[in-house]
């Protein structure tokens, strides 16, 4: 079954509440009904077919959160094409790897982002989104391959992630992951049909694709899409639109706590859904006290989400919840504390990385996926301990330390670099070339990195050794 099918079924019996409310930067709110959303998906599908995209085509998607994003993602899946959701923050180092690995035949992008994707446009269909319209440019030169002929039909999309190799890996995400993920998430968060959820995180990550797209659409929950993350705006939205639930990373919830005093009415709130970073017990307490909500924290990876999530009514602060139904979990090589690498096994998870057999063999063995994260089980609840692999979560974003090092050593004048993360901050120590020349000041090095890697990966502190 394609993962769009339960969504379409749900939309047929949706009810009167909107599928989506998009909040514009000017304070406007555009509401979309279920019939209109189904029509939007069909219109997008017709447009994609007309522009030459078909079954098995691999398509890179560079779109901001919007009902159009949801329509494009579902339309591509319904057509049997393979969407590759790409982080809008990515620059040349990440994009070079993604385009050479996935070889998409088409790019769907925000018009304002076209200068970033321009170097990859040659030979590809480029569809730009501008002012609610789609503008297509046909390829010049030889058309790129971009056909997923070597992928099984049970693969829904290719989602790039990291394991510390210094380059992204394309997880082959099956249709079952989206459907099962939404189902087991619902078993934890228990939202009611007709409720709404405020969406602030980019829908490019599996956590948001499942938590903010598939889960609400399958379970009759209205998506309220915010284009602003300023905590004062979010608090205004909560009051004005009677928001029931918010899905975000702990760092954003922390900002809501800081600006809660003096904010308007937040009495509509029922639950905060959290993931993507560690959520300390003290933050649980502060959030619960100030907002009077159920705070439901969970854990997952691109390869499978959610591995675990707290269950509403039996939340254990400081934990990442109980292991999701249908997922086997074991702690490999535990220390005296019981902490070891988290391994998982489920029929619904990613089984390979696109065209990366060696990395696939390292991560997947005997049906198990070695998450590269460490943790322990405490009375049935999983407790996250850290990352064994050379990646770190920094304010909800995954940073591959080796990729940052590679970016630094490509800067003229830099011989080598050591990259680390402490206190939610990326730092680097640089060893300079012995010969003269190159960029010799820290701001210059950071400016050079801006065109190479996502801004959130650029070290905050850089010093010479």
């Amino acid at each position: 079954m394609k993962c769009c099918e339960p969504v379409f079924e749900s939309l047929k019996g949706w009810g009167d509440h909107p599928v989506c409310i998009e909040l514009g930067p000017d304070g406007s709110a555009a509401s979309l009904s279920a019939p209109d959303f189904l029509q939007r998906i069909n219109d997008v599908k017709a447009m994609l077919v007309k522009e030459g995209i078909g079954e098995h085509d691999i398509v890179a998607v560079f779109l901001e959160n919007s009902s159009d994003y949801a329509a494009v993602f579902l339309a591509l899946i319904d057509m049997g094409a393979k969407p590759v959701p790409v982080n809008l923050a990515f620059r040349t180092i990440e994009l070079d790897e993604i385009f050479s690995n996935a070889e998409p035949c088409a790019i769907i992008t925000e018009a304002g982002h076209s200068t970033v994707v321009q170097p990859y446009a040659q030979g590809r269909i480029v569809i730009e989104r501008q002012g609610g319209k789609w503008l297509c440019r046909r390829p010049g030169g030889t058309k790129k391959k971009g056909v997923a002929g070597d992928l099984d039909n049970d693969i829904a999309s290719i989602n790039y992630t990291y394991r510390g190799y210094g380059y992204p890996l394309g997880a082959l995400v099956p249709h079952r992951q989206y459907i099962t993920g939404a189902m087991v998430l619902q078993e934890g968060i228990r939202l009611n049909r007709g409720e709404n959820i405020l969406i602030v995180l980019p829908m490019v990550n599996i956590f948001t694709l499942i938590g903010c797209l598939f889960h609400p659409l399958i379970h009759g929950v209205t998506m309220i899409i915010a284009h602003r993350k300023n905590p004062l705006r979010l608090l205004e939205y909560i009051g004005r639109h009677r928001v029931d639930n918010v899905l975000a990373v702990p760092e954003l919830f922390d900002l809501l706590v800081k600006f809660r005093d003096g904010a308007g009415d937040v009495s509509s709130l029922k639950a905060f859904l959290s993931g993507g970073s560690v959520l300390p017990v003290e933050q649980y307490d502060a959030l619960g006290r100030l907002f009077n909500v159920d705070l439901i924290h969970g854990y997952g990876l691109t390869e499978f989400t959610p591995v675990s999530r707290n269950i509403r009514g039996s939340i254990r602060p400081g934990s990442i919840g109980t292991v999701s139904r249908g997922v086997e979990c074991r702690i490999d090589s535990p220390d005296s504390d019981g902490t070891g690498e988290i391994w998982i096994k489920t029929d619904h998870m990613t089984k390979a990385y696109h065209r990366r057999p060696d990395e696939t063999a390292e991560a997947f063995a005997d049906g198990w996926f070695k998450t590269g994260d460490t943790g322990r089980l405490e009375e049935g609840h999983l407790v996250f301990a850290g990352e064994k692999k050379k990646t770190r979560k920094v304010k909800g974003n995954m940073v591959d330390l080796e990729e940052v090092r590679r970016a630094l050593v490509s800067v003229p004048g830099v011989h080598d670099a050591a990259v680390s993360v402490e206190d939610n901050t990326v730092s680097a120590v640089i060893e300079r070339e012995t010969c003269t020349g190159g960029i010799d000041d820290i701001p210059g090095i950071k400016q050079h990195l801006e065109g190479m890697i996502a801004a959130y990966k650029i070290p905050k502190t850089v010093r010479f050794s």
Partner: protein, 90 residues
């Protein structure tokens, strides 16, 4: 909401806000300092700085507009222009 007495107090107040949130000694911040490259201000810190200043001065900052701002001095000028506009609208 506070009224600005003069440019110096505005400047000092904004620099103090940035220094506190970025955990940097305010003596190391002047108008020419690059916000992202030298102070390492990330997106979460930016949100907190902007929200703090919005609340303090009763202005609304456009997130898109602030993306073009490079230096502390440019940010101070931007906030000052917003305050002046607010006063004209009042």
């Amino acid at each position: 909401m506070k009224q600005i007495k003069n440019d110096t107090s505005l400047r000092e107040s904004i620099i103090k806000t940035i220094a506190t949130i970025a955990r940097i000694n305010e003596k190391n911040i002047d108008d020419s300092v690059l916000i992202r490259e030298e102070l390492g201000i990330d997106s979460i810190m930016s949100l907190e700085i902007v929200a703090q200043i919005e609340r303090h001065y009763g202005i609304v900052v456009d997130e898109e507009e602030t993306l073009q701002i490079k230096t502390v001095g440019e940010f101070i000028d931007y906030v000052q222009s917003k305050i002046i506009n607010r006063c004209h609208e009042a």
